[in-house]
């Protein structure tokens, strides 16, 4: 096969694609991380990105499109520097997630029009631009309402704190997430989702690793330990 070369994806990305493919016994298994790789370059999955994956994995554009349109983490329009996901699933919604989302829509909207789902405030790709989305359960009900920037958690939010966070992001600041790794930008996060991490151990610890467990998450376990609660023993089959 001849070398796939085009203007959007440089040699480094092609090399990374091959590295991803080499992780799997069957090349088509590499499609999900490949689509993240594509997003790390363009901030979304473009038609060129679909073709890039198809060529590398010997899939048709239709097959790649089927996968790319199924998963909500693959964005089909250019995204901002940051992706802001507000959880509006049941618990977060009840705890104020809906209100936060509404507030941010208005706050980020222009000319009196609230910002829509997966719409971007500012010019996509420019510093300070933010794409807003409402998300399904982010698996942090104990810290509700939560929101994520580039998939990093900001817990126990209020309308006020969310607006402050957004303002800071627009100023070009990167406020530290409540837990986990420090905030970067969407494209960097996408590269990590594609499975590429800093090789240097210290940088890995600083950029990727981070304490992800919160006190709230462990509160139940601590209480049980404190009071000596244990699960009932498994019943014997023939007892």
């Amino acid at each position: 096969m001849t070398e796939v070369q085009d203007s959007v994806f440089d040699a480094d990305i092609h090399a990374k694609a091959k590295e991803i493919i080499s992780r799997y016994p069957q090349s088509r298994s590499a499609l999900l991380p490949m689509l993240h790789l594509v997003q790390s370059v363009q901030g979304h999955v473009s038609q060129e990105g679909i073709a890039f994956c198809g060529k590398h994995l010997d899939l048709t554009d239709a097959e790649v499109s089927a996968v790319a349109t199924f998963y909500t983490m693959y964005k089909r329009k250019p995204c901002g520097e940051h992706l802001l996901s507000v959880c509006t699933n049941t618990l977060c919604a009840a705890m104020g997630g809906d209100a936060i989302y509404r507030k941010l829509q208005e706050h980020l909207g222009a000319e009196g029009k609230p910002l829509g789902h997966e719409a971007t405030a500012g010019t996509p790709g420019e510093p300070g631009s933010i794409t807003l989305e409402h998300a399904e359960c982010l698996a942090a009900c104990d810290l509700a309402p939560v929101l994520q920037v580039n998939y990093e958690f900001y817990d126990n939010q209020t309308e006020q704190s969310a607006v402050e966070l957004v303002d800071a992001l627009q100023r070009g600041e990167k406020p530290a997430p409540t837990r986990g790794a420090p905030l970067t930008d969407l494209k960097s996060a996408e590269l990590q989702l594609a499975g590429f991490f800093p090789e240097d151990a210290e940088r890995f610890a600083a950029d990727v690793d981070g304490p992800s467990a919160a006190t709230e998450t462990l509160r139940g376990a601590a209480l049980a330990q404190e009071r000596g609660w244990v699960a009932p023993p498994m019943r014997e089959e023939n007892a």
């Binding site: 679909i50 060529k55 048709t60 239709a62 097959e63 349109t69 329009k77």
Partner: protein
């Protein structure tokens, strides 16, 4: 009742299970799907996604039944199209289970929620599984009162398949067919949840910030931006159980209940697919795949489905034409007059330097036989050849051994069961698409090893999980001879019982290939099947429309066979010509140089012939040319008499497919007054004082059978004279003087004359490109995507260049897309050409 019947345990055969369906005890083979078991009992469970030739999917949920296993009812109704039978299972379908019935009604109601219920304007209305099953298993009315989901419509999936998404029930038959059967996943299920829809990459709303393309631009494309071509996409229209996929050519043209359906046989390739031709008021509206498990299963290629408009073309020749001596124009005349003129001229030619017959490769057995007998009796010559393509004397010797073989030798089923299939000088997807589907099925379902002797990894190689045994064009014979040494596993594979070698028409262009194939077959025991490209070739061979063979395959030089045939034909002893005739090129050469006075020409396009220039010269030089044609062709301009003949829709007859399987068909369009070739020849022969007894296809076939059985009664001389002439391709054929070797074959959808008048089909033709290796391109300064010019001293051809894994120094060009490579370059497969960078 006096005695209670004794409780007898029904014997359960090995590999079977016993279960109860609707209270009835059934023995079913292990692995059978419940929906089929019920079907065998006469209970039709409604279904959409289920298709016997596709893998189970359980996508539509319409076939829910109640199932009990080991005395425990399963908690929810189960999809009977994905669940297999098990011992002791108790199944209740909608017939006996109110639960199943209600579940089916519920699913139907859900499937119809977003369905537009536009049956009165839908192509499928009247033959629609959704419509029928909604009537049989649905509720009378819907409880859904909200606005239905709508989509812009229709989306062109390709130039011939249109998609109305709001009618779709997401059964995935089309996507599964494309991926599994055809190997062309050009449509897929996109989006999720309520937005889920079938579409192409272009409809997937993945647009780089650019506005959505025009609907006309949404046809599926490949990564390189070229339209995604599938030769089989028409099947998705036929298996769509709703009106979501419709044919651009048929859309809004007629209603199923206005159509008359007639079983028919495809005239396009040598597979002889069963088809159904639907017509209305004397006009064919569409063709569908027939169901013939032995041949095409339930699939046909798009050419067979869509290429039928030529028969209704406005330029059809309906009346005999005779060239006016004064004006030099062809003028319409009566049959009597035309036949008289033709008979006089042919008689005169016969008694002078002779007349010869070129039949073309598209005849039924009956028509080919009439030509064969006409040549021998009326023209008293063996100068007859059905091969309107590259051919060789070596091929003729080989074909003598092909005559009389039946599906017992090699069949579609044998291909499917074969442990190893070696494809030699054939590109199955282009040249025998249904053979390709069987090869793919064999590879996927039975792990058949498919090896292609060719020049590059074509889609046929990829989609049959095949291996490429690469060689230079013309080097195929050497490649086969090298198998014993260089491909020991293939050699061992071919020695296994059931191994098959498939040989295509291109073999005639490679010196020594037939003998190499025979050597390989004899050494390994593999069976050889000859798969010509055209539908009539095998039948014409059997009918003796060849210069060295009599009907039934005996050699014309065999005195006993001739004597037997003379007695069967009630002729005086010794009147049949005994010397082998000239082949196609020989005939043309003789006509061009004045050695022949007249030509009788069937359906032939000079551009298909090995040397189109010679053919044109011969047609111009021949004193008299009789053309038997449906439509004006390149022969017409040279013809002195043109006799119109019937299309397959207008006559009965039979093709003999490559297996040697008779494929009979009856008249579809009655009362057109169009005459089959055999009838025209019979009458013409009478004018020449010869009796063919081929007035009707029935009479012709009866006479053919008499001739063949007469031939069988004599011991056949050994075929194959093996003269020195066989060691080189036919004289008169240029081999070019370039430095590179040319590989070429015809793509399925190209400029062939039977594809005329069908722009939707033409829109799915593969793009014509020059293929070459990266190194060859570099050496000639050609960048991928640029144009390349292939040339000989005869002419040149410029097409976009595409890099493929060809051997260095080899270029591939399609043989008739967009022009005849023979006409443009004067060379064929294996010819020598030059290459340069060209401009668009």
């Amino acid at each position: 009742m006096t005695m209670a019947p004794e409780e007898t345990e029904t014997e359960v055969p090995e590999g079977h299970v016993k279960l109860i369906v609707d209270g009835e005890e059934v023995i079913a083979p292990k692995g059978e799907l419940l929906i089929r078991t019920a079907e065998r009992l006469g209970t039709v469970i409604p279904r959409f996604c289920d298709h016997p030739l596709l893998d189970p999917a359980g996508a539509c949920r319409q076939c829910l039944v109640e199932v009990e296993m080991g005395g425990r009812p399963m908690p929810k109704p189960q999809a009977s199209c994905t669940m297999t039978v098990a011992d002791g299972m108790v199944v209740k379908t909608q017939r006996t289970s109110p639960v199943a019935d209600k579940a089916q009604q519920g699913v139907m109601e859900l499937l119809l929620i977003n369905h537009p219920l536009d049956c009165p304007v839908c192509d499928k209305g009247g033959e629609c599984p959704l419509q029928n099953q909604a009537m049989a298993h649905g509720r009378a009315s819907s409880r859904f009162v909200d606005t239905k989901r709508t989509f812009p419509k229709p989306l062109p999936i390709s130039s011939q398949v249109l998609l109305d998404r709001e009618r779709c029930v997401l059964c995935q038959r089309c996507t599964r067919f494309s991926a599994q059967i055809a190997g062309d996943p050009f449509i897929e299920l996109l989006e999720r949840g309520v937005h889920q829809q079938v579409g192409t990459a272009e409809t997937a709303a993945v647009f780089s910030g650019t506005p959505a393309p025009e609907p006309s631009d949404m046809a599926s494309k490949t990564s390189s931006g070229a339209p995604f071509q599938s030769y089989f996409s028409g099947n998705t229209i036929q298996i769509c159980p709703v009106g979501a996929l419709t044919s651009a050519a048929y859309r809004f043209r007629s209603r199923p209940f206005d159509l008359v359906s007639s079983p028919s046989v495809c005239e396009h390739c040598s597979s002889g697919c069963a088809e159904r031709t639907d017509f209305r008021r004397g006009k064919v509206m569409r063709r569908l795949a027939g169901d013939d498990p032995d041949v095409n299963e339930e699939w046909i290629c798009d050419k067979g489905r869509f290429a039928f408009r030529y028969a209704a073309a406005s330029d059809r020749i309906r009346k005999p034409l005779v060239r006016d001596a004064k004006t030099g124009e062809l003028v319409e005349t009566s049959w009597t007059e035309a036949l008289r003129v033709a008979a006089d001229a042919l008689s005169k030619a016969r008694d002078a330097r002779g007349a010869a017959v070129l039949t073309g490769g598209r005849l039924t057995v009956e028509d080919a036989y009439a030509y064969s007998k006409f040549a021998r009796i009326a023209l008293r010559t063996n100068d007859i050849d059905f091969r309107a393509r590259a051919h060789s004397a070596e091929e003729l010797d080989f074909l003598a051994g092909v005559v009389g073989t039946t599906p017992d030798h090699v069949s579609f089923a044998a291909i499917e069961r074969a442990p190893t299939v070696l494809c030699v000088a054939i590109e199955p997807e282009d040249e025998a698409p249904i053979v390709f589907l069987r090869l793919r099925k064999a590879a996927l379902k039975h792990s058949t090893k498919v090896v292609h002797v060719g020049q590059w990894t074509t889609s046929s190689v990829r989609k049959t999980n095949g291996e490429l045994l690469a060689c230079e064009p013309g080097g195929e014979a050497a490649a086969l001879d090298g198998i014993a040494q260089h491909a020991k596993d293939l050699d061992a594979g071919l020695a296994e019982a059931g191994a098959v070698i498939l040989l295509g028409e291109r073999a005639a262009e490679v010196v020594g290939l037939f003998s190499a194939v025979q050597r390989l077959a004899e050494r390994t025991g593999a069976k050889v099947a000859w798969i010509p490209r055209r539908a009539g070739e095998r039948g014409a061979l059997e009918a003796g429309a060849a210069p060295t063979l009599l009907p039934g395959g005996a050699a014309v030089s065999d005195a006993d066979a001739r004597a037997a045939l003379e007695s069967a034909w009630r002729l005086d002893a010794g009147v049949l010509p005994s010397s082998p005739g000239r082949d196609t090129t020989g005939i043309l050469w003789a006509a061009a140089t004045g050695d022949l006075d007249a030509l009788v020409v069937g359906g032939i396009d000079p551009d298909d012939l090995p040397d189109p220039a010679l053919a044109r010269k011969a047609l111009a030089a021949a004193g008299f040319v009789l053309s038997m044609e449906m439509r004006p062709s390149a022969v017409t301009e040279h013809a002195d008499v043109v006799l119109p003949i019937a299309t397959v829709d207008e006559k009965s007859g039979r093709f003999l497919n490559w297996e040697g399987r008779p494929r009979p068909f009856t008249v579809t369009l009655e009362g057109t007054n169009a005459l089959p070739d055999c009838r025209v020849l019979d009458t013409l022969a009478v004018e020449m004082d010869a009796d063919l007894f081929t007035q009707t296809p029935q009479a012709s076939f009866a006479d053919f059978e008499r001739a063949v059985s007469a031939g069988r009664s004599v011991v056949r001389e050994t075929n194959g004279s093996g003269t020195a002439e066989h060691s080189r391709p036919h004289a008169g054929e240029s081999n070019g003087n370039g430095k590179l070797k040319l590989a070429t074959w015809r793509q399925l959808i190209d400029e062939g004359s039977l594809q005329a008048g069908e722009p939707h089909l033409a829109g799915t033709a593969r793009t014509a490109v020059v293929r070459l290796s990266a190194a060859t391109a570099r050496d000639h300064g050609i960048e991928p995507g640029e144009h390349a010019t292939v040339s000989t001293e005869r002419g040149e051809l410029t097409l976009p260049a595409e890099i493929a894994d060809l051997p260095d120094g080899v270029v591939w060009v399609p043989a008739r897309s967009p022009v005849s490579i023979r006409t443009a370059l004067g060379v064929g497969h294996g010819g020598a050409v030059s290459l340069s960078g060209g401009t668009a």
